[in-house]
Each structure stands twice: as C-alpha cells, then as structure tokens.
C-alpha cells in the first residue's frame, strides 16, 4: 500500500497558501457554530489527516448534488478540500469505467476496510430494484455491500437523506432513504436539493477533525440545520410588520416584502441558506424573489403546493369563526347577567357598618 500524502502537502501542491488555509478553517469553525478558538484545532487535524478514502455512490438522482459541489463558480477552497480527499470511486467523475471502476471500488474497500467514508447521492428503489442498477447490480445490493465496511455514511441531498423527489407521491419505484436500509452505521444526513457546497465540505471537515457531528432528530448536523431560514431571513422585519407580497409582480414584491403569502416555507425549513447563501455568498432563493421550497425537509415535494401559504387552513373556517364570535357573545352576556344579579342582591342586603360593629363577637 503506497503512502498517501498528507492533506497539507496536497494543498501546498495545489498552490493553497497556509494563510488561505487558516482562513478557511476559521470560516469552517464559524459555519459549524464552533468557538473561534477551535479554528487552529481544525487546521491541525486537517493537516495531519491522511487523505481519507471516500466512496461516492450515485443512485436514483439527478447528479445535481455532484454539480453543486463541483460547479462552484470558481475554483474554491471547498473544492480543494474535496479534491484532497481520496475519492476512490465516483462514477460521474472517475476516468475508469466498467469492470475497472468496480475493481477500484472493491480495492478501496479492501484496503481501508472499516475506515472509509461512504457518500450516498440519490434514493434507493426498493419496490422494483431494476429501476436503478449499475454493473448489473441493484442499488440496494451495492449499498449494503459498500456500507458493511464503512466508518460512517454521509447522505448528500434530500433523495439520499429522506427519499426526495423519487419518493414523492405516488413513489412508483418504491424509493427509500439510506437510513431506511442501513441501521447499524452512523449516518449523517446533509439534505438539500442540492445542499450548499460549504455545508457538504464542512460536514466532511467536521468528520475528519472531530468525528460524527451532533445531529438533530432528522439526522442533520445541528451546526448547519439548527435554525430555520425564517429566523435568519433578511425579509423577516417585513414579516414582523405584516408586510407581504401578494403576487409576484405587485408593489410588495418589488419592494422586497416577505414572501410568506406566496408560499415561502422558510418558517419551517432548517438550513443556513439565509446566512451562508449560494454561489459564493451571492444570493439565495428568497433574496432572488422566490419563496423557499423547503428542500431540506422530508417530503417537501408533497407539501400541497409550493405557492400555498403555510398557515392557510382547509375547510369553512370563516363560518366557524363567526359562529365562535356568536357563542362567545352569548356566554359573555350570560356571565354579565349572572354578575349583575349577584351584585344587585348584595347591594339590597347591605347593612350600614357602624364603628361599633367592627369587633367580631368571640
């Protein structure tokens, strides 16, 4: 087995200066909501890290997540980190094909058994495995085989994390999430359609430095999915003031008011979109004038329409409210009548208090 170069050596070979590297570590620390003092620790850990072997499995997906991470607008440091892991198998990017490719996967598994990281992109068809196969084997088969020797699994994108679009009603392929199939390995969900590149590399960096990050109840790293977009949205003040765009071409839309009434799912969607943003921090959907679709949440495709506001109830609520007001008025009037009666009776019974009456007979 040949000695793999240290991460820092690879970085130097790619022309990444130490200063740039340290800046990146500080950014990662802040993105991961870690104290700034931990930045040198991240740097140290990353520098000493041997290039970890990563096997990237592409199942039922659109390759958008791979696009997201590789098609950053310019060569970024995230890309460098991504490049410096030992990506031993990635069927979109690798030069090898056919038997050679499969051989590479098997070799990586054999050499790093129990230590390699599996990245899964896409959901797994279970009802009819024939919908998605490669090298004549079903996704289900390959996932089980590859996961067996993995240190951990990172699901990239909502498809792998929660089933995503293939899982949307009526789910013809019987698509399932990785966590539905693999239950004996740590799984880090990095949902999003696609996820933000720095979130993906941030999770990888965290795994390399501190191991599996703290996860929320949906298996997502809390550092990146702790807050809802709404809480960090720059349009939040408009929401608080009750200023909403009603259509996409009205005054409110032009003035940049809150998109809640146009169906924005920001209030229920956990992601760092509003702070980290996309395309190197240029913008994010809400800033570009479109409501959030809620792509980091399970079943976001089946939420009853992207342009339907979150709180619109179903049914004849107006009549119900009117009825409620009526009943309330009757109950209130009855209560007032009761009180009035008690008070009038008390006034009738009033006996003038004399100073000599004050002592209680013992």
């Amino acid at each position: 087995m040949k000695t793999r170069p240290l991460l820092s050596e690879t970085m130097a070979a790619h022309g990444v200066s130490r200063r740039t590297f340290m800046k990146y570590c500080a950014t990662l620390a802040s993105v991961m909501a870690l104290p700034p003092a931990l930045a040198p620790r991240i740097a140290q850990a990353l520098e000493r890290a041997r290039r970890p072997s990563v096997i990237w499995l592409s199942f039922q997906e659109c390759t958008g997540c791979t696009e997201s991470i590789t098609r950053s607008h310019a060569p970024t440091i995230e890309e460098m980190i991504f490049n410096t892991i030992s990506l031993d198998y990635q069927d979109t990017l690798q030069a090898a094909a056919g038997h050679q490719a499969e051989a590479a996967r098997h070799q990586a598994m054999k050499e790093n058994y129990g230590k390699y990281l599996v990245v899964v992109e896409g959901s797994i068809p279970v009802a009819n495995p024939a919908y998605s196969c490669f090298a004549g084997r079903s996704n289900l088969d390959v996932l089980k085989e590859t996961a067996a020797g993995a240190a951990a699994i990172v699901t990239v994108g909502t498809c792998a994390a929660y089933g995503g679009i293939p899982h949307a009603m009526p789910n013809p392929t019987g698509a399932r999430a990785v966590s539905d199939i693999i239950t004996d390995k740590p799984i880090i969900n990095v949902p999003g359609c696609p996820p933000i590149p720095v979130v993906m590399t941030g999770v990888l960096a965290h795994f390399l430095t501190f191991g599996v990050p703290e996860l929320d109840d949906l298996g997502r790293p809390k550092a990146f999915y702790g807050d809802v977009i709404h809480d960090r949205c720059y349009r939040r003040p408009f929401y608080d003031k009750g200023l909403f765009a009603e259509t996409f071409d009205d005054e409110g839309a032009r003035a940049g008011w809150c998109l809640y009434k146009l169906g924005c799912k920001g209030p229920t969607t956990h992601s760092v979109c509003a702070t980290v943003k996309w395309n190197g921090g240029v913008s994010f959907p809400i800033q570009s004038g479109h409501p959030c679709l809620g792509c980091t949440q399970p079943d976001f495709w089946d939420g009853g329409g992207f342009y339907k506001p979150l709180s619109v109830p179903t049914g004849d609520y107006r009549a119900l409210a009117a009825g409620g007001v009526g009943v309330g008025a009757v109950v209130g009037a009855a209560g007032a009548l009761v009180g009035r009666g008690v008070k009038a009776e008390a006034a009738r019974k009033h006996e003038t208090v004399d100073a000599h009456d004050l002592e209680k007979p013992s």
Binding site: V338, V342, A355, D357, L358, E359
Partner: protein
Amino acid sequence: MTASLERGLNALREQIDAPVASFFTSCVHCGLCAEACVFYRETEDPRYIPIRKLDPMRRLWRREFTLFGRIGAMLGLVRPVTDADLGEWETLVYDSCTLCGRCTLVCPVGNDITLMIRKMREGMSAAGHTPKELIGAAVRHVETNSLMGNLAPALRAQVKRSVAETGIDIGFDQPGVDYMVILSAQETMDYPEILSSMARIFKKAGISWTIASDGFEATNVGVQIGSRDIARILVARVVEAAERLGVKGVVSPECGHAYQALRWEGPNLMGRAFNFEVVHIVELLDRLRAEGKLPTKGMESRRVTFHDPCQINRRGGIDREPRRLMALVASDFVETDDAGAMNWCCGGGGGVGANERATKLRLTAFKRKKAQLEKVNPDKLITMCAYCHHTIEEAMEEYHMEIEVQGLTDFVATYLDDEPAGA
C-alpha cells in the same frame, strides 16, 4: 348588628364591579407587582405578592360572578371563602399593604391592585377581620372628633400658643373666609408648628382662613379600615362644615390619606360634587409661589432630600410642586433613586403604622427607604405628610440614623420673607 362572615362576603360582592372583573380576568400572573411592593422586596416572602393579597376576593368573584366558576363551584372545584381564609388574609391586607399604589403603576395590563385592596378591606371590616387598633380608632373618631379621642381642647391650646408666638390671630368658625384649614391628629399632637407656619404664609399672601370647631380633623380611619359607611360619616363632618361656613376651599394638610379621603374618595362617598375646592397645602404654596406671593429670604445650605408621600404624589398627582418649592429654599437639594411618582413608601401608611403587630414588618420595609437615604447621605429630609414624617423619625430612631426630618410647609416658612419693609 355585628361583624360576620356573611356580612363580609356580602360587602365583597357589593365591591365587585366591571373594573374588578376585568382586572381579575386580565391578570397574566407575571409577578411584576411583587417587585414593586416594598413589603415583598424587603422580605422576599411570596405571601406578600400584591395580587395574592386579593386571593379570597378573586375566589369569590370566580365562584359567584363567572359562568365557569359557578359550574366549578357546583362540582366542588372552586373552594368557598371561609372565615379562616379571611382571618389568614387579615395580616396580608392590613399589615403588609400601605395602599401605596406602586403595584398599580407597574402592572403591565393596568390592573388597579391598590383599588382592589381598598375594596377588599370593605369585606374584611364587615367580617370583623381588622386590626384592633383601627377598630379602636374608628370608635373614638365616630364618638368624638378625632381618632385620638376629643382633640378640641388640645387644638385650642396649640392655636393659643401659635397666636402668642406669631402675633397673628387664628379664628375659629369664621364664615366667608377664603379657606377652611383642617389638620391631621398627628399635626395637632406632634407637629403643631404647622399652625404658625401657615399663619405667617397666609398673612403674607393676604389669605383669610379659619378652622371649624366641629370639622377640624382631616384623617379618616374609615378609608384605612375599609368602611365607606364610616368614611362617609367622617368626611361629611368636614364637607358640611365647609359648606356651612361658605368657604372658597378646604386646605388639606400634610397628611396622605386625608388628602385621598377628601379629594378623591370624598365626592364618591358623599354621592355629589363639592361646591368648594379641595387643595393640598403644598399645591396652594406652589400656586402662591407662581403668583409671587411667597417671597423668601435665604436658603438652606445643608444637603437636603425629599420623600414623596404615596397618597400625595403617586396617588395624588402632586409631583412637581414640592420640587419647585424645594428649589426656592434649598441650595443643595439632592434627589434619591426612584424619586417622584415611583418613590418608595415609608411603610407606615394605610393604617400599618397604627397596627402594633405590624411593627417588625414595617421596620423591615423601611430598609428600602434607609438604603435610598444612605446613598445620597442628606443632612435633612423634607416630606409633605405628617404620618410619613412620624414613621420615618421612628424608624430612624430604630436604625440610629441622624437625619433631621421636617414638613415642607414648615421648611418653606423658615425662609419666608415676612419682615415688614424697612425693618
């Protein structure tokens, strides 16, 4: 008739009206009133949280005035108010509340807790759960002319002394004069110097005044004990004397609840508006100052501070007047923390000072005032309520504090320029 639980509950029912119902309904249990109360702040005993002092009345309201409460009562979910409850609450309603009104001012939903304590006392007194000292004072006041018994001879003696001292005549029962002056028993007995001070100031300002021999007592124990029937009898003496003498106005003296009783509760107790003006002595002095009828000479150069009596400032609205007067005669005037409408109570008002068993609690509550004073370290403390004056002097004795206390009218009169011109 004697006091009984049934009479007490009936009195409470009479007191529960739309404001009380809305106050109880809108209370959000935030606890802000706790921090506002001097008795809670100095003891941190949760029993002294102002709104809790109203619990029996709140329960009665729920049981009998609300639909759900009535249903709850039928199902045995809302306990009835018992004589033992009222007995337990007696110390809360009378010993740990001076009706100072601070809780009312901080309540975020605008509940007038002080008003409700006043109402609750109506029920407590009718049920026979009042401190014995207040009962004794009520009997004395109704039977004679003052809560201290017959004070007429003492008052005449004080007037005689004052006339001898100033050479200015003070007439009794003179009809048609500008003002009828009433005095609190505390002033008549402890601080009679107020007579000479008023005589000199009024003479300089050209104001004619008199004292009614059958309506000179300003205090009203009915207001403190919480009995509007008794309060009406007592306030009627003053109102009828003023109307008989046909004066322009009645000067309410340096006494907190006396001002409250005549100016704010008075017309409601009598059930009609007065045809004379009720003016607090400090209000009148400030008016004279503005008209240039209060010439002064010299100033107090020692460090002086001011204590706001709750019934006169917070609940009476006289806030700027004493400050303008202080500016006139004190060169080193310093305000304490929370001065003005949010000032801390002396701890003795509302009948607490007369209540023997509340002494320890009252002295504990005074620690707040003590801390306020120690921070500014004055040589002298001025106030405009004889009972605050008395309470503070007594507590200072207890805590070995060396600060002189003086009434504002007397303080201003010290620097009154009433020497004849050229003398």
